[in-house]
Subunit: 208 residues, 4 copies
């Protein structure tokens, strides 16, 4: 007898299986974005996906796994998108700008998924109640800090604590995404422009 434990986090499996998992993940994202983490029950997800509750347990070991995958996939996709679009050779100021722009661009077509991911990252905890996504953005921030340091050496950026500034840039960017995602009537384009302008001014060298 084949146990369903084997499927957990498994990207192998039949084509149909992958399809089903994708369908369930999509439903989960919609439910999360609409009713929030606390009310996102397996029942509601099954309803939304138009399948029985059993199907979900068959394809995912636990509910948490669905949520985790949702967040991880989006995070990974975003990272790949950025890497694709931001060559290492770009000068620092442009590279910083390109990274931020690429991230906003990535989520611009994934509002629901972003909201779902935000719910998961804010609420997902391990069994000891520790935040499961604590520090997930750290490497990203380190990359930005690196760019800032590079730019300082090149004289493009002013003296500042690169690590702190990277966090501030990240927070401002997340603020833009959060606000945009929460209000469907908002247009990301001008918000994005204001953000890029704001950040550029905050870090540029005096003579620049």
């Amino acid at each position: 007898m084949r146990t369903n434990q084997g499927f957990a986090g498994d990207d192998r499996g039949t084509f149909g299986g992958r399809m089903r998992r994708a369908q369930i993940e999509r439903a989960a994202a919609e439910v999360l974005s609409e009713v929030g983490y606390a009310a996102a029950s397996v029942s509601r997800i099954a309803d939304r996906a138009g399948v029985s509750k059993g199907v979900i347990t068959y394809h995912f070991a636990t509910k948490d796994e669905i949520f985790r995958r949702l967040a991880v996939q989006l995070l990974d996709g975003c990272a790949a998108h950025i890497t694709d679009r931001v060559p290492d050779e770009m000068p620092p100021a442009l590279r910083l700008r390109a990274r931020i722009h690429a991230e906003l661009e990535y989520f611009a077509s994934r509002r629901i998924e972003f909201l779902a991911m935000a719910e998961v990252m804010a609420n997902h905890r391990d069994e000891d109640f520790g935040r499961a996504f604590e520090g997930i953005a750290e490497s990203d921030i380190d990359t930005v800090a690196g760019i800032l340091r590079e730019g300082q050496e090149a004289g493009e950026f002013r003296p500042l604590d690169a690590h702190e500034a990277a966090h501030l840039i990240d927070a401002a960017k997340n603020g833009v995404l959060d606000r945009w995602a929460a209000d469907e009537s908002l247009d990301l384009e001008p918000m994005s422009a204001s953000l890029l302008d704001f950040v550029a001014r905050a870090v540029r060298a005096d003579g620049a």
Copy 2:
């Protein structure tokens, strides 16, 4: 129909009653900060407070009311703190700086409460799943936008979309608080300095 139990939203009541309510709110804040919104059950709060579950229902009509009060009290306290410390006569650049500093200062001695409030604001929903604290910071942000416009007229600040910039400043500030609150080992002072510097640079006029 009002029963003679439950002081829901009642600021009157005996000294003992106010004490108990404060004790329960404190326990609720601790639990929220430690295990998160989803796991913050009445049982856990009662355990933490060292009282029976019934006591909580006796003093608060619903669990949500405790959470709401927690958030509202802190928000109100913070607003009062800022108003006290930031006279309207201050010139815009100083006023902006003073506001941010006052807010960070207020939460610096209320880490647990800040975490609890953040959990509540991120998760509290009304019965139709709408975010209950949606737009709660809007008036605050409008105030900052007003300061920015004033500063622009005075030539202290550069041309920018005041409303967008106010949101970016808010997001950066919240990012600092979130990061600090999540990691007990962090020192708010230097983070605060970086933030103030970052914001000042982002908005100052070219000639300044």
Copy 3:
């Protein structure tokens, strides 16, 4: 230290005590008539009486005691009212009519109390879930059966099973009271007339 057990079912006590008990009983009757047995909680009764919950426990050993007293008092009052108004010397047909009329008349000015009593009698159970007011009307019905037998001997009433007929008369009378009590807009007078007519016809001897 004086325990409150002593008061249970106690008609002695101070004047103030009797007043309080009456006030509580009145409130209990109102609550019962408005929300029904299941929702008639001590809290709601205390609210209605404008006293604290503690007062109720002070004057009555248990909630059930209040309810029991409510029913018993009304039942006793009704019995006394009937006895007062229906002399044993009346001829059977008149006596039957007078009894029914007296009972309707008694409750006519006690709608709330009647509803409360009906709730209690329908729902009150002892600790083994046996109906506490089972057979409470039996002696009344026996009295009516006696009148029927007397009337048969006197040739006023037709041959019939006196005990069964007494039950049927009782049921018809209760039906009138129930319907009237449930609908404030109803006028008891014509209903009463129809009932008396109905019963008289049902039992009268052929030649009468």
Copy 4:
């Protein structure tokens, strides 16, 4: 929002599902008849049915729904039984008699269900505490009133207020059923005969 659990009001579903629901309804009826409305908890019903509490929530949306179905099914079944057995062409006096007889006959083999239904009808309230089964018998009574009027025109019945008389007949009939159901040792047959006789006498024309 409909979850995929709960068949609330659903007559479709698998054979097994219908069986379970019937089993649960049977257990609920037994519990209601034995301990009364107030003590008829989901736990007790589950115990009686020999299933876990969760099963009940799985098959019925709420406890009230079980009770409502219990009452409605019995009421509907009774109405159908009467319609089947009482042709419209019968002369009024016979038709009246046949209706009453059919109803008693229907419940004669359903003592437990009758008791359960009586508990529900006496106690079920909507959220504003209004009686949920208020006036449920009204159409039935109107039918009887119609028969009485027909019989008056045909000279079979005496002049009387048909609507009032119909209510009295209904009350007498319910009295018989209540008494019989409450006492297992009673034989419905002679009670039924007395009732039919009583009613016939009460309404017949003088010359009949």
